[in-house]
């Protein structure tokens, strides 16, 4: 057993020597949480728009004032002809053009029907949709003020929507579990697969294999430091989520930590599996990226909703471990549920780990004989 601890200590020395990697390991979750928490918003603020006003009347002017004083929009250009629109869009600064046709004010005041055009540059789709929605609601509210409803309509059904679990609609509730899954996977699986590939590449793996340590001890020794590192990282992210971003912890902390350990164990098994296949660090890294990280980011529901994906991708997403882990974290932290609700997800993670660990141990054997 002493031998085993000596070996674990050696692994820790490796990690500790490599200051830069340690810095990145712990800096990464911090940076990601801050970016997601504070930089990535789809809220519109001071978006640059252009106006093409053929009318120059009282109503068009008032609507423009209304748009610009809302805080959402800022005027970049006043255009004079339709041809300018194309050129403006091509430069890429302006994403929305508001067009008032000639006689707009007159039509609106006298004929009772007038048209305003909102032209959006949908090459930036998300922005285009939000800009259009914001502008539409501002113009509509202007219209409503001009035509106050005369009487209460009959048969009024009122809807009381209630936002359960996240009344303030905070974005952090989605991305913190996602970031957690990603970072844990990154640290555990990527690091393990690469360090083992490294020992193979530099030839030290052979030295270890002929040492009196058993194969399992070697693997476990290699994996243990990363397990601890990942766990520490997981705790940091949870703490950041709670104290910096105001995510509640409604469920049991103990269960959360246990599930985190389970997910780390699963990631380590995955890393081990990759390392039994990959002979060089480059291949190990590429395999980790392609087979784990990309699917995790895109198919776990962390950024894009799973329900909207094509069937085939929804199916694939079922074998992405992060998907279950994310559900578990949300369940425990936000919904405050326990194993009673999460046993299925937990079971999936347990069986996946067992399977992966089994395969990688099986793969490893012939290598030693």
């Amino acid at each position: 057993m002493n031998r085993f601890f000596a070996f674990v200590r050696k692994e820790f020395y490796h990690i500790q020597r490599d200051r830069r990697t340690v810095l990145i390991l712990f800096g990464m979750p911090l940076v990601m949480v801050i970016l997601f928490g504070f930089a990535l918003t789809n809220e519109i603020k001071n978006a640059q728009i252009a106006v093409l006003d053929f009318d120059h009347g009282q109503h068009s002017q008032r609507i423009i004032d209304r748009l610009l004083s809302s805080g959402y929009f800022r005027l970049r250009q006043s255009l004079t002809s339709y041809r300018d629109i194309e050129a403006t869009f091509r430069q890429g600064h302006v994403k929305l053009v508001v067009v008032f046709p000639p006689n707009f004010t007159n039509d609106y005041a006298h004929d009772g029907l007038a048209q305003v055009q909102l032209l959006a540059d949908a090459s930036e789709q998300n922005t285009a949709i939000s800009l259009t929605n914001y502008a539409t609601s501002i113009i509509q509210s202007y219209n409503n003020e001009q035509n106050p409803p005369n009487a209460a309509s009959p048969l009024q059904i009122s809807v009381e929507p209630r936002m359960v679990f996240n009344p303030d609609l905070k974005g952090a509730f989605v991305f913190v579990p996602g970031v957690m899954a990603m970072v844990l996977l990154l640290v555990s699986a990527l690091m393990t697969s690469v360090t083992i590939a490294r020992e193979k590449e530099t030839g030290t793996m052979e030295v270890l294999l002929v040492s009196p340590l058993s194969q399992l001890q070697i693997l476990f020794g290699k994996v243990l430091p990363y397990l601890l590192l990942s766990f520490l990282n997981g705790c940091i992210i949870i703490a950041l989520g709670i104290f910096l971003l105001g995510i509640p912890l409604n469920g049991s902390l103990l269960l959360l930590l246990a599930e985190t350990l389970l997910f780390i164990f699963l990631s380590l098994s995955l890393g081990l599996l990759i390392s039994t296949i990959a002979e060089t660090q480059l291949v190990a890294m590429f395999a980790s990226l392609l087979l784990m990280l990309m699917p995790t980011i895109f198919l776990s529901g962390f950024i894009f909703p799973i329900e909207s994906m094509p069937r085939a991708l929804q199916f694939i997403s079922q074998i992405i471990p992060a998907r279950y882990f994310i559900d578990i974290v949300k369940g425990i932290m936000i919904k405050g549920v326990g194993l009673g609700y999460l046993w299925k997800e937990t079971l999936v993670l347990v069986s996946m780990s067992a399977l992966l660990m089994g395969i990688s141990l099986h793969n490893l054997k012939p290598r030693l004989e």
Binding site: D18, R20, T21, G27, M28, V31, M32, L35, F36, F38, A39, N46, Q91, G92, K95, Y108, L113, Q115, Q117, L118, A120, D121, S123, E124, Q125, N126, A128, I139, Q140, N147, N150, L155, Q156, I157, S158, E160, P161, R162, M163, F165, G171, V174, V194, E201, L282, V283, F286, L289, L290, M294, F298, F304, E307, S308, M309, L313, G331, I334, K335, Y341
Partner: protein, 372 residues
Amino acid sequence: MTRIRFIIEKEFKQIFRNAVLLRMMLAAPVLQLILLAYAANFEVKNLNIVVVDQDHTTYAQRLVGKFRHIDNFRLKGYVPAYKPAYRELLASRADLILLIPPHFERDLGKENRASIQLLVNAIDGSKAGIASGYAQTIIRNFNDEIRTETVAVQQPATGGRLEIENQYWYNPRLEYKTFMVPGILFELLILVGGMIAALNIVREKEIGTQEQLNVTPIRKHEFILGKLTPFVIIGLVQFTMGLLVGIFLFQIPVVGSVPLMYGFAFLFLLLCVGLGLLISAISETQQQAMFAVFFCLVLFILLSGLFSSTENMPTWAQYLNTLNPLRYIIEVGRNVMLKGSTFRDMQSQFVALLLMAVALISLASWRYRKTV
């Protein structure tokens, strides 16, 4: 100068000999493109809805019927009361609960008004907002429908009516693919080009061949150029594959000039490989290099505007973003490919990318060899 040729030749031989790597390098872009183009979809569809109908009247049933057979919702069934309904939310079996209180129809008839409760799982806030919007629209339409049935005469319109016409240019049907693919196409270049380049020199350091190269009369610029060229060429091949997939599989329109796109791809590749070589030059192990690249990539991608718009970021993030090469190239991709922007329109992006490429490559050649 012929020395460069030998380095390039050697790099290519090594790349082609590593079958696994080669396959991954070629598969990665196509795979990611397909994955992203299909998965990257912020549309909200297939929302699971569970109904608590405590009224059991025709109106209630008709209202529930409105949630059947539409794209956005999947009617999961009924539960008798609030408590079991909440449990459905807890168990993630429902995204939305429609709660029709007792006496819904009676209140509507007698008092002319009634209310309905909507419980939305709001962990994903933006999705919840959209979901509740959809549901409210359906309820409002139902409201209008029963109103016209009972109150036969429509009220005449008073005052002016304002029609708003929306046009989405360059992507009129709002296809997410059209929006995502040009961005991803360029994003891939930094992923593959930059990453493999970053590991390249470090690998030679680790194996020991770097020291051997350092005692040869090879010049810095020859070394850097020799290393740069193969990756730029591979990057262009990947770009071409991605472009073909985009055009033929996803039918992304290419409005702008293809040579201009290749010009920018070339410039951007120089930049990526320069960044990779710089990281490679300052790292001691492949692991270190890999993590450094990874860190840069995560930062670049998140801030690039690939997923969320760059203009709405807080000021500090926008300042940070002026140093983000990915952001410029994604702007170029979308503008040139979808809108047909010309070189003149993309001047500022060109200057920014050029400056960064020159700076990175010079830094890389300056740092190389000193650290040996």
